[in-house]
């Protein structure tokens, strides 16, 4: 395959790949070989992967190619390569975050099992920052900048076009932050929308499986496959899975609330300008755009997240830390493990009150607009940036997506965040797709 045709394939969206395979214009083998060549061309620069299963991907692609040739498609993702954040168990692959020795896991996490049933090709596990032991993932827009975290490899892998779509996860800001820093579409859904079975746990009531891709259409397609109730995860919602079709031909301009008191002290002028420019473009495109305010006491969300998440994390880690024999306990776990139960319960009561108060904001708007981060990705690789602006929606369990806010003066993506009402992923993604038409999408970064 020529360099030009490799790049052509790797610039396709997941939906375009699925359509190409379904109509016979491309085979899964051709698709996966293009991505393997792309990985070989740029991975040494980006460090997006903790484990690549090239031969496994080729074998799966060969099976899918034969099936497609016989007129049989497994599902709507037949032939689409996926990256999987390392914290998810994938049968036959290591989960380094859970087991540094890298022993192959015996069973697929539920989202991975569903992806395989739908015909997806698992290319490998994407890198998470683990105690600085492995080379940090670099931002494909500028290799001297962080790609964000902890879904670092998923964000960078999609941005560098090594896969069209990837699974991530968010407890604080770990799915939307890499997407924002790398200029991509992403979804953190309503809590419980996607099963967490087989995913390493950080905080039982804050962990959300997420998606990072190129378009809202891709996100909706993948969500329609992996969402839904799972008897292996009792927190999964019983509600119907959102459909893949966003009905883009009939989406009306939305009512958008620009949240003017969403922690301006944490939002740098460059991000505030990006929010204002996006709001103006939405208004020009026919949206109703108004200024809205969060409840006065909304700032309590961070103490709530710290206490609830900290208590849950220290409880989950207690046995693992003891059995490791190293005596190492995370600093936060040492402190939050002594929190009185009354503080955990009171924090959960405050959480419920803020959930109710915030829901009332959607009586007049379809979605809330704000920054996904204080600014673009920071320079340097020592940290993965600031996820604090994403924490409120991880704590309340509201669905949130990233939008294109343009580029910073340094040429790094400025990611905006749009939040919807719980269980309304479909309309939030429709609104996101409408915004994509108005705001445009960033091109692939100039990498390799």
């Amino acid at each position: 395959m020529t360099s030009a045709s490799i790049l052509d394939v790797t610039r396709l969206t997941a939906a375009e790949i699925a359509a190409s395979v379904a109509t016979g214009r491309a085979t899964p083998t051709e698709i996966v070989e293009a991505y393997i060549e792309r990985v070989q061309a740029v991975e040494d620069m980006v460090h997006a992967w903790s484990h690549l299963d090239i031969e496994g991907a080729r074998a799966t692609a060969a099976e899918l190619t034969n099936e497609a040739a016989a007129g049989k498609l497994r599902g709507p993702l037949h032939g689409v390569p996926f990256g999987i954040k390392d914290e998810f168990h994938v049968a036959g692959m290591p989960t380094y975050f859970a087991d540094p020795e890298g022993r192959p896991q015996p069973v697929d996490a539920t989202p991975i099992a569903k992806l395989r049933e739908a015909g997806a090709i698992i290319l490998g596990k994407t890198h998470m920052p683990i105690d600085g032991k492995t080379p940090p993932t670099r931002n494909p827009w500028n290799l001297n900048y962080t790609a964000g975290g902890t879904s670092s490899g998923s964000g960078a892998g999609v941005a560098a076009r090594m896969v069209p779509i990837a699974l991530g996860e968010q407890t604080h800001g770990s799915n939307l932050r890499p997407a924002a820093y790398c200029g991509l579409a992403a979804l953190k859904p309503t809590f419980g929308r996607i099963s967490r079975f087989g995913c390493y746990q950080f905080s039982w009531s804050h962990d959300h499986v997420g998606l990072i891709g190129l378009t809202m259409e891709d996100i909706a397609l993948a969500l329609s496959v992996i969402a839904g109730p799972d008897p292996l995860d009792p927190t999964t919602l019983k509600e119907l899975t959102p459909p893949a079709d966003l009905g883009l031909g009939s989406v009306r301009p939305p009512c958008v609330g620009v949240v003017r008191n969403f922690f301006p002290e944490r939002t740098q002028p460059v991000m505030q300008d990006a929010i204002d420019r996006a709001a103006a473009k939405m208004r020009e495109g026919g949206a109703t755009v108004t200024d809205v305010l969060l409840p006065e006491d909304f700032g309590a969300i961070w103490p709530v997240h710290h206490v609830v998440g900290g208590a849950e994390a220290s409880t989950f880690h207690a046995r693992k830390d003891f059995e490791s024999g190293t005596g190492r306990v995370a600093l936060r776990d040492r402190v939050t493990s002594v929190l009185p139960a009354s503080y955990y319960l009171q924090a959960q009561r405050i959480r419920g009150l803020l959930w109710q108060k915030t829901q009332r904001m959607f009586e007049s708007v379809d979605a809330l607009l704000m920054g996904a981060a204080p600014a673009a990705a920071p320079e340097g690789l020592a940290t993965t940036g600031d996820g604090s602006l994403l924490v409120p929606w991880s704590c309340l369990g509201y669905p949130a997506i990233t939008l294109n806010g343009g580029l910073s003066p340094q040429g790094l993506p400025l990611g905006l965040q749009m939040v919807g009402v719980p269980l309304a992923e479909h309309s939030l993604l429709q609104t996101g797709a409408w915004c994509e038409q108005v705001l445009g999408r960033l091109p692939a970064p100039p990498l390799g």
Binding site: D297, V304, L331, V338, L339, Q346, Q348, R349, R351
Partner: protein, 61 residues
């Protein structure tokens, strides 16, 4: 540690430190714990002073 009457950040900090920093805790670890102690104490103070209706139940998603 009580919830009511509300606790100050300093009260929460001192209580947390008593629980976590024991005789024999290395000095370096004690220094590393300091920001987490401060952050957690601040969180406890905010939660302690938050006024809630009596009939509000905890939210368990």
């Amino acid at each position: 540690m009580r919830l009511h009457p509300e606790v100050t950040q300093d009260e929460a900090y001192n209580w947390l430190k008593q629980q976590v920093v024991q005789d024999g805790t290395p000095d370096e670890l004690e220094k590393e714990l300091e920001p987490v102690l401060r952050q957690t104490a601040e969180a406890m103070a905010v939660i302690s002073r938050f006024v809630l209706p009596d009939d509000l139940e905890p939210m368990f998603p």
